[in-house]
């Protein structure tokens, strides 16, 4: 994981936004599951389409508030985010969050397949939710830690 200083946006805002994209309720939310780390790993691998747009979107969000975004009440956060609905960067961030949250546990952001338990998806593989844990031959095409 990269040093915080190299980011062009505030990680606190980033994480707080993710937790409104997938809020905790009876089931955990985005950062409880590591969705922030999942996205940053993709980011660092150069696999996020148009990262600059996300950076600018997060910075613009910060400029709209007097107080740091993460300290606002959830209702205020949601109100601000509803104004971003329809903006490309926000749509991309929602999709990245969903990728981490709803993909297999071995992708790093669905611990214990908790999102699958929530929705009722049963993977049905003999080795558990992520299937075989070994890959003795070589890596899957395009694979990275995430």
């Amino acid at each position: 994981m990269s040093d915080e200083k190299t980011r062009g946006f505030r990680l606190e805002t980033f994480r707080a936004v993710l937790d409104r994209i997938i809020p905790a309720d009876d089931y955990p939310g985005a950062t409880d599951c590591g969705v922030d780390r999942f996205i940053l790993a993709l980011w660092d691998a150069g696999l996020v389409a148009d990262p600059q747009a996300i950076t600018e979107g997060l910075l613009a969000l910060d400029r709209r508030t007097e107080h740091p975004f993460e300290r606002l009440m959830p209702a205020e956060q949601d109100d601000l985010l509803s104004k971003c609905d329809g903006e490309a960067w926000f749509r991309v961030l929602c999709e990245l969050a969903a990728e981490g949250f709803y993909a297999d546990p071995a992708n790093g952001a669905n611990p214990g397949a908790v999102s699958w338990e929530m929705i009722g998806y049963r993977p049905g593989l003999p080795e558990g939710p992520s299937g075989p844990d070994k890959n003795p031959r070589d890596a899957v095409r395009g694979r990275l830690w995430a």
């Binding site: 409104r20 994209i21 997938i22 809020p23 309720d25 089931y27 993709l42 696999l47 949601d78 985010l81 609905d85 926000f90 749509r91 929602c94 999709e95 969903a98 990728e99 709803y102 993909a103 297999d104 071995a106 992708n107 999102s115 699958w116 929530m118 929705i119 009722g120 998806y121 049963r122 993977p123 049905g124 593989l125 003999p126 939710p129 992520s130 299937g131 075989p132 844990d133 070994k134 890959n135 003795p136 031959r137 070589d138 890596a139 899957v140 095409r141 395009g142 694979r143 990275l144 995430a146």
Partner: protein, 549 residues
């Protein structure tokens, strides 16, 4: 000149492995060359929901390698894009031993008898290259039977009232229902539609030394955990290797077809990489060369092999190689029910109708409609949510929570109306890691395809509503290039050398020992998943080749 093999086959996929088996069992010495790797469930890494052949967000679980194998995609506006294998515009087919059959869902359709006579039935729309096949359904019937029995299909032989004549039932009983089947069946009944359980290349009972399907929730896109999914890599290829007359050269790229000074095919050049990364080429001789590399790469190999006699590529003096690229549009309707319709028991396809394949009002051709494989959760999120649902907040989370098990799908592959402008050509300014020009994909499907696709979308929606969905949604289809995993048509067979690339056995016009054997041959691609037709053609054409050399 020492001739090393009777036959060299390029590509160990749906067709190549069958050709290798038929020819080696007929006593021929066969070399089978495949650029992809041998992969199995156990050594394919974790069940990666983001990198597979159903969702290629960042890669996939077979080949080709992400780096060094680009293609060029030309958009409808003429803009050129260099694309990587996992990107949609690449139109990838799995590169692995078994090709797409390693990871497919295995829907095992025979084409409809009318699918072989599209131009005769519907006429030729202006601007399209719609045509009949050079033979009828009856010609292929015995070979469909061989594919069903030797590769292994489950199904109900008398279930489909629209199907062509068949002499023999399937060798295995059909897959079981899931909670959606009953709802969809009663909806179909209300509309007067005939339904049945679709045929699948999946063991519903143990067969041929391998187990039955264990009904996991991630079938299509992945290798099978019980090896009960019948690809060519676990059925026909082992038979070929048992003869000791077939050699398999995996992870090996065929650079181009080898020819002598007169332009006659003499074998292939393969590329070999040594321990230091140095690449060298080696010529291997054979009496016959069969190209089974898929509709894009087969055409590319033909175009890359240039001779004095054929300066624009093998078989291409009539400018036909690479044209008529086609695949399938897939109109899809989602339906939300008030009770559970999804129990995650795979494969998931349980009910189909072929009533809309032909005889539709005001459109050309049609499509088979069926429910779908168990959807990965992230695929529902990415492509199945209603347009008006927010993608953030508790609304989105709760829709996933409450909806996943209550959503069913109806979808189907639309018989494309081909266009000669949809084509594979060579991008001479973009090279692969071996310095060869890459495939360039361009053109847009004929607009009649979109009309049919949107007609089918309405029919699917009506079926979903009749089944009792409290809400249904789907996307209108729009004009685009279509190829993908069902890619076909680029070396069309025919009776007239001026408007086709091969004769009706896949022999390339102007050559007596160069054959194409894959979906490239399909003059049109049917309103069904095409793999059983690829397989049946491979049996037929390989037997023909065996009898003539």
């Amino acid at each position: 000149m020492k001739v090393d093999y009777d036959v060299i086959i390029v590509g160990a996929g749906a067709a190549g492995n069958i050709a290798a088996c038929v020819l080696s069992e007929a006593g021929k010495r066969v070399l089978l060359v495949e650029r992809g790797k041998q992969r199995t469930y156990a050594d394919d890494g974790h069940r990666d929901h983001l990198r597979n052949h159903r969702l290629q967000a960042y890669g996939f679980n077979t080949g080709p390698e992400i780096d060094g194998n680009p293609r060029v995609y030309v958009g409808p506006d003429g803009s050129r894009h260099v694309v990587k294998p996992y990107q949609g515009a690449y139109h990838a087919n799995a590169a692995a031993i078994g090709g797409g059959t390693l990871v497919y869902g295995g829907l095992a359709w025979r084409f409809h008898p009318s699918d072989f006579r599209m131009a005769s039935i519907y006429g030729v729309p202006e601007g399209s290259s719609l045509t009949d096949w050079p033979f009828s359904y009856d010609e292929l019937e015995p070979w469909y039977e061989r594919a069903e029995h030797e590769v292994g299909v489950s199904g109900s032989g008398n279930g489909d009232r629209n199907a062509g004549f068949r002499r023999r039932d399937y060798p295995m009983p059909p897959v079981s229902d899931n909670p959606a089947s009953g709802r969809l069946r009663s909806g179909a009944r209300a509309l007067g539609l005939s339904t049945f359980t679709p045929p699948l290349l999946v063991n519903t009972v143990p067969r041929a030394g391998r187990g039955a399907c264990i009904r996991c929730g991630s079938c299509v896109g992945f290798p099978c955990p019980s090896n009960g999914k019948n690809g060519t890599q676990n059925t026909m290829l082992p038979r070929a290797l048992e003869t000791s007359r077939c050699e398999l050269l995996a992870e090996t790229v065929v650079e181009q077809v080898a020819v002598d000074d007169s332009g006659r095919v003499t074998g292939v050049y393969i590329l070999e990489t040594d321990g230091t990364g140095h690449v060298s080429r080696r010529r291997i001789h054979s009496h016959v060369v069969i190209l089974s590399a898929g509709a894009i790469e087969t055409a590319r190999l033909m175009l890359m092999t240039r001779t004095r006699r054929e300066p624009n590529g093998l078989g291409n003096n009539g400018d036909q190689v690479g044209r008529n690229l086609q695949g399938h549009y897939y109109p899809t309707v989602f339906g939300l029910f008030d009770e559970q319709v999804q129990d995650s028991n795979g494969p998931g396809v349980t009910i189909a109708t072929t009533d809309y394949n032909h005889g539709n009002d005001g459109v050309i051709g049609g499509a088979m409609l069926a429910d779908d494989f168990v959807m990965l959760p992230i695929i529902l999120w990415k492509s199945g949510l209603p347009d008006d649902l927010p993608r953030y907040g508790l609304k989105a989370k709760h829709f996933m929570r409450d909806g996943f098990t209550r959503i069913a799908q109806i979808k189907g592959p639309v018989h494309e109306i081909p266009s000669a402008d949809c084509r594979v050509s060579l991008a001479h300014d973009v090279l692969d890691k071996y310095g060869r020009p890459v495939a360039q994909l361009s053109g847009i499907t004929h607009p009649e395809t979109v009309r049919t696709a949107n007609y089918i979308l309405e029919k699917a929606d009506a079926w979903m509503q009749a089944a009792g969905a409290i809400r249904s949604w789907g996307r209108k289809q729009t004009l685009r290039l279509s190829a993908g995993q069902h890619q076909a048509g680029t070396c069309r067979m025919g009776e007239d050398a001026a408007i086709s690339v091969t004769d009706s056995f896949g022999k390339v016009w102007g050559h007596d020992n160069l054959f194409v054997c894959d979906a490239s041959l399909h003059p049109t691609n049917g309103g069904y998943n095409p793999v059983l037709t690829v397989m049946a053609l491979a049996f037929r054409n390989a037997e023909h080749i065996a009898s003539t050399i």
